[in-house]
C-alpha cells in the first residue's frame, strides 16, 4: 500500500479537494466543548483532532427523527417519503464509529431488511482518522484499534506534524487523484494507550454473561440511574425507534414519523393496556448491557459495543459500562475458581 504524507496545515486543502467530487461531512466544533458531524461548507472548519462526536455517523443513515409517510384524510391517500442515498464522503471517522456502522448494517439487513437504512447507506465513502484514546475510550477491549483501517476507503494516521494517508480501495485511490502528496518516509506513529479496559476475553463473553442475569450490579446501578435514556440515544449501535402519527390542526392530513427510542425509557417497554415489561431501572439497565454483550453477541460471536465510551462520558450520574462489565467478570471469576 502506498503511504503518502499530508502536512497538518494541508488538511483543509484535502477537504476542499474532496468537496469537488462529492458532498463532504466532517466533525465540527459545536457548543462549548463538543463536536458534531456536519456537512462541510468551509474546509478549514473540519476538525480531525477530536475525542468523539456527540452522535456517530449513524445519524445520516438512521436519522434521529424522520417522516416515513404523509397522509391525506380527505382523499384517503398516503405517500411514502423518499430516502435518498447518502452518496457522500464521511471525513474524519474514528474506527469504532465505522465498526458501529458495520454492526448496524447487520441489524438492518438481517431478517426483515430495513429499506430506509439500506437506501440511505448507499454511496457512502469513509475517510478514517486515528485518535488518541481519552479517559472514556475502551475500543481496544472489544477488538477495535484506533488505527484499524477495516472498511475505510482512505485512512489518515496521525503523526506529530501531519498524517500518513493511505488509499485502501479503488474508490479511495480515485478520490486522491489530482492532489499532490509526497510519499511518507519516516517510521510509524507512536501507539496510543487505552486508559480504560474491560477484562472480558471474547472467548469467555458467553459464559460471563450467562451467569450475570441475577447480579447485584443491576440494583446498585439503578440507585444512581435516573432513566433519562441518554446512554441509549448516544450509542452508535442502538437502533430502536418508535413510530407516531401526527395529524395537523385542520384535521385534513398528517404524517407518520419515527424517532430514536431507547430501552432505558419507561415508555419504551410499555405496551397497549398499560403493561410495562421492564418496570424497574435495574431490569432496564440489565437489558441495555445484554443488548450490547449478550443477545446479539450470542448470534454473531462479537460484542455489540464498540468501546466509544459515549454512554459513560454522557452519563450525568457517572455510570460506567466498563465498571459494570468488570464487576460481572470479577464475580464470574470468583465463582469460577471456587471449588464446588
Amino acid at each position: 500500500m502506498v503511504q503518502l504524507f499530508l502536512e497538518s496545515d494541508r488538511v483543509a486543502e484535502l477537504v476542499a479537494h474532496l468537496m469537488k467530487q462529492k458532498s463532504v461531512f466532517a466533525p465540527h466544533a459545536k457548543g462549548r466543548k463538543s463536536f458534531a458531524f456536519e456537512e462541510v461548507k468551509d474546509p478549514s472548519a473540519a476538525v480531525l483532532d477530536y475525542p468523539r462526536v456527540m452522535h456517530s455517523i449513524r445519524k445520516f443513515f438512521f436519522p434521529p427523527q424522520e417522516t416515513l409517510m404523509t397522509f391525506d384524510l380527505k382523499e384517503n391517500t398516503c405517500s411514502v417519503a423518499e430516502t435518498p442515498a447518502a452518496d457522500a464522503i464521511f471525513f474524519g471517522v474514528h474506527s469504532y464509529d465505522l465498526g458501529a456502522v458495520h454492526r448496524l448494517d447487520y441489524n438492518f439487513s438481517e431478517g426483515n431488511p430495513e429499506k430506509n437504512y439500506i437506501a440511505r447507506r448507499q454511496g457512502a465513502v469513509f475517510v478514517g482518522v486515528s485518535y488518541k484514546p481519552d479517559e472514556f475510550h475502551f475500543s481496544g477491549s472489544v477488538g477495535i484499534d484506533p488505527y484499524d483501517t477495516a472498511g475505510f476507503d482512505i485512512f489518515l494516521t496521525k503523526l506529530l506534524d501531519g498524517y500518513i494517508v493511505e488509499a485502501l480501495t479503488p474508490v479511495g485511490e480515485g478520490l486522491l487523484d489530482g492532489i499532490e502528496l509526497p510519499a511518507h518516509e519516516a517510521g510509524k506513529p507512536a501507539r496510543g494507550h487505552f486508559q480504560q479496559h474491560i477484562y472480558l476475553p471474547q472467548a469467555k463473553l458467553g459464559q460471563v454473561m450467562d451467569g450475570s442475569y441475577q447480579n447485584e450490579v443491576w440494583d446498585d446501578t439503578a440507585k444512581k440511574c435516573v432513566g433519562c435514556g441518554t446512554c441509549n440515544l448516544v450509542c452508535p449501535t442502538c437502533y430502536c425507534f418508535t413510530v407516531e402519527d401526527e395529524v395537523n390542526v385542520q384535521v385534513t392530513g398528517g404524517s407518520r414519523d419515527r424517532r430514536w427510542d431507547g430501552c432505558m425509557l419507561r415508555d419504551f417497554s410499555a405496551v397497549a393496556g398499560g403493561e410495562v415489561f421492564r418496570e424497574t431501572l435495574a431490569e432496564r439497565q440489565r437489558h441495555r448491557v445484554f443488548r450490547k454483550f449478550k443477545y446479539i453477541s450470542d448470534e454473531t460471536g462479537q460484542p455489540w459495543c464498540v468501546g466509544c465510551g459515549r454512554c459513560t462520558a454522557c452519563c450525568t450520574a457517572g455510570i460506567s459500562i466498563v465498571n459494570i462489565i468488570n464487576r460481572l467478570v470479577g464475580d464470574y471469576e470468583k465463582v469460577a475458581v471456587t471449588p464446588i
Binding site: 459545536k30 457548543g31 462549548r32 466543548k33 463538543s34 458534531a36 456527540m54 452522535h55 445519524k59 434521529p64 427523527q65 439503578a222 440507585k223 444512581k224 440511574c225 435516573v226 432513566g227 433519562c228 435514556g229 441518554t230 440515544l233 448516544v234 407516531e244 401526527e246 395529524v247 395537523n248 390542526v249 385542520q250 384535521v251 424517532r259 430514536w260 431507547g262 425509557l265 419507561r266 415508555d267 419504551f268 410499555a270 431501572l281 454522557c314 450525568t316 450520574a317 457517572g318
Partner: protein
Amino acid sequence: MADKPRVAIFDFTGCEGCELNQLNFEDQLLDILAHVDIVEWREAMDGHADEYDIAFVEGSLSTPDCIQRIHEVRRKAKVLVALGACAVQGGVNAVKNTHPIDEVREEVYGQDKYLFPTLPALPLSSVVKVDYNVRGCPMTQIEFLKVFTSLVMGKEPVEPEHSVCVECKLKENECVFERGMICLGPVIRAGCDAQCPSVGQYCTGCRGLVPEPNLEGMEEILVSHGLSVDEAWKRLELYNANEVEGVRS
C-alpha cells in the same frame, strides 16, 4: 360535521399565562375555532355557559372556593383537560406548601389573613378526575395542539413519559451540564421539544417529573455537579413541590 364540541376555559390560581398562550395561537386560532365553539372564556370574551363538552382548566386549587368551583366544572364537562404546570402538578404555587400554612398567610395578607382562607396549592387531579394534561409553564403550545387535535378526532392523546434529555439528544444539543450549568432535564417530562436547553438555557422542570422518578439519584447528580443538598431539592421543588415533598429524607 355534526355539532361542534362546546369548549369552556376556566382559570383558578395561576398567572393566566397559559390562557394568554392560547390567544397567541395566531396562525392556528381560526383552525381551532373551525372545530369547536368556545362558549366560556373569562379572559377573552363575555358570557357564561351552563353546558359544555370540553373544559380546559388553568391554575391550581388553593382556596375552599376553588374546590367548590372545580367540582362544578367537572360535573358539567364530559372531558376535563388540565392546562399548564399549576393545574397539572400545582406548579410554582405549590412552593408555599413547603412552609407552614399560617406563616404563608401572614406573610401575604398580614393582619387581614383571617379574611382570606387558604389551602395548600393542589393539582386538579387531587380533587377531581382529570382526563388529559397539557403541561408546561406556560403550557406548551405544540402539546396543546396535539391534545386538541386528538380530542377533535376522538383519539386518545399520548402523554410523553420520557425525559427532556431524549429531545435534546434528538436535536444533538450539547448537554447543558457540558456547558457548566445545572439542568433538571434527566427527570423532567419531554414534550416541549427541549425548548429551553435548545436556546442556551437549562431545564427548570416546569413540565413535571417523569413517572416513578429516581429523585435520590437526581439529588446525587445535582450535588456531584456542585449544588448543596438543600439547593438540589429547592431546584426540584420549584415546579414540583407536591411530588417532591415526602420523597425528600
